[in-house]
Symmetry: C2
Subunit: 250 residues, 2 copies
């Protein structure tokens, strides 16, 4: 499986993805799931992908190399789309194109056509936006009310985001919270694994501010993991035991 | 949906279950999911149930009123079984009996036969045990290595248990951690709802020590929710921002 999260904050965009893929528990690999389309000063677009690797790679290839859009009749790619909304539409079209090519054959092999994508970024002069595209090629968008979107194994890491992430959250705190959310997922689900890829884009910037791979040895992520563990331990220890329970013997 | 958790600790057994059921999002009700079979000094057995309400109620009725076991040819109930292992077998038999009665008709209505049960307790002179019974009527058992089992919406509340619960955890701390785990689930998933039911049984005791319903106004649970929220907020605020990120503008 996979865990990816995108935060649309007043200051900018944070996207984080793990790299573990598995075709059965005895076939585990590392594949980049955070994909990056940048022309400095002109566009910064980032996609995080979850689902069947054959499908997500096919979609990424179409979006990179371009394909004839049924909607516009022209060859388009994420390097040519004029807006993030059009980028989301094109991403949905790419998903549907792969479904038309491979969906029925996959179904005959009892393989589900599974793909979800987080698509975030900004094109010069346009809005910074963050979308979540589904297997059907339709999509939803993050808003100020709900400024984060997740794909893959999203439940373990959701409580901390539900509690702490708001549209006004500072970007550095957003990065920290996304990493904490990833840590909770890594600890509870073996199909999500290090290293993780992080992209940070400040609203209206010329280019991504951070595009960084974080592995087991990353000092900052290690520190987060250790301090978060210690803080949780201290937190539950500091909460008094129920006063309606007899004192424990241990 | 549902969230139930059982902790098998050196001191005893903790079981916690929410009460929300939903037949579609526009049909939400409160049903007790923590069921209690006790003959003081002789047996204390507790079942937490998740899945289709018609199925779980049918199973509970069979286990309460008794039915002719195919395995033994005698009428048995949770009030007659001689051991917790036999209780788990009988629970599995009850699940399969309901499946034989209703499974095919449910399938024809495209309704999945979903049921999972946590079964914990002790019969005088025998071991305290905790089982998880599946839809197929088979079951697994908690051990010292893995002293907690969950059913229903288990992912939101798993990280804190993964980090903090061990077989040697004191029972009062187990109650606290189960309530924190429930709180994380309640906050992130609307299909899990208050009130919640708590059962605490001390190993080799005459009867359950606590059998308590906890609602919105419960002072201890309110305190846990508030202090846990505050502690998490303080914890992530206390972690330094990444040193490889420029200072935030906000």
């Amino acid at each position: 499986m996979t865990y990816c999260v995108g935060l649309l904050l007043s200051e900018g965009l944070v996207m984080l993805a793990d790299t573990r893929t598995n075709a059965g528990v005895d076939n585990i690999s590392t594949f980049r799931k955070l994909h990056f389309f940048e022309v400095p000063g002109e566009r910064t677009i980032c996609i995080a992908s979850a689902g069947n690797l054959g499908v997500t790679q096919a979609v990424m290839n179409l979006l990179t190399e371009g394909f004839e859009s049924e909607a516009t009749g022209t060859i388009e790619s994420l390097y040519t789309v004029p807006s993030m909304f059009r980028a989301a539409q094109l991403t949905g079209e790419a998903v549907r194109k792969v479904w038309h090519l491979d969906g029925e054959a996959m179904r005959q092999q009892s393989i589900g056509f599974e793909v979800t994508l987080l698509l975030g970024g900004q094109i010069a002069g346009r809005q910074l936006r963050l979308f979540l595209c589904y297997s059907a090629g339709n999509f939803i968008e993050a808003t100020e009310d709900t400024p984060f979107l997740q794909i893959g194994e999203h439940k373990y890491g959701k409580p901390i985001l539900d509690r702490a992430v708001q549209f006004g959250t500072a970007m550095a705190d957003g990065v920290k919270l996304a990493l904490i959310s990833m840590d909770s997922t890594l600890r509870s689900n073996l199909t999500v694994g290090l290293p993780i890829d992080l992209m940070v884009f400040r609203r209206n910037a010329e280019r991504a501010e951070i595009n960084r791979r974080i592995g087991e040895d990353d000092p900052y992520f290690r520190m987060i993991r250790e301090r978060w563990s210690a803080a949780l331990r201290d937190a539950h220890r500091a909460i008094p035991r129920p006063d309606w329970m007899p004192e424990s013997t241990s």
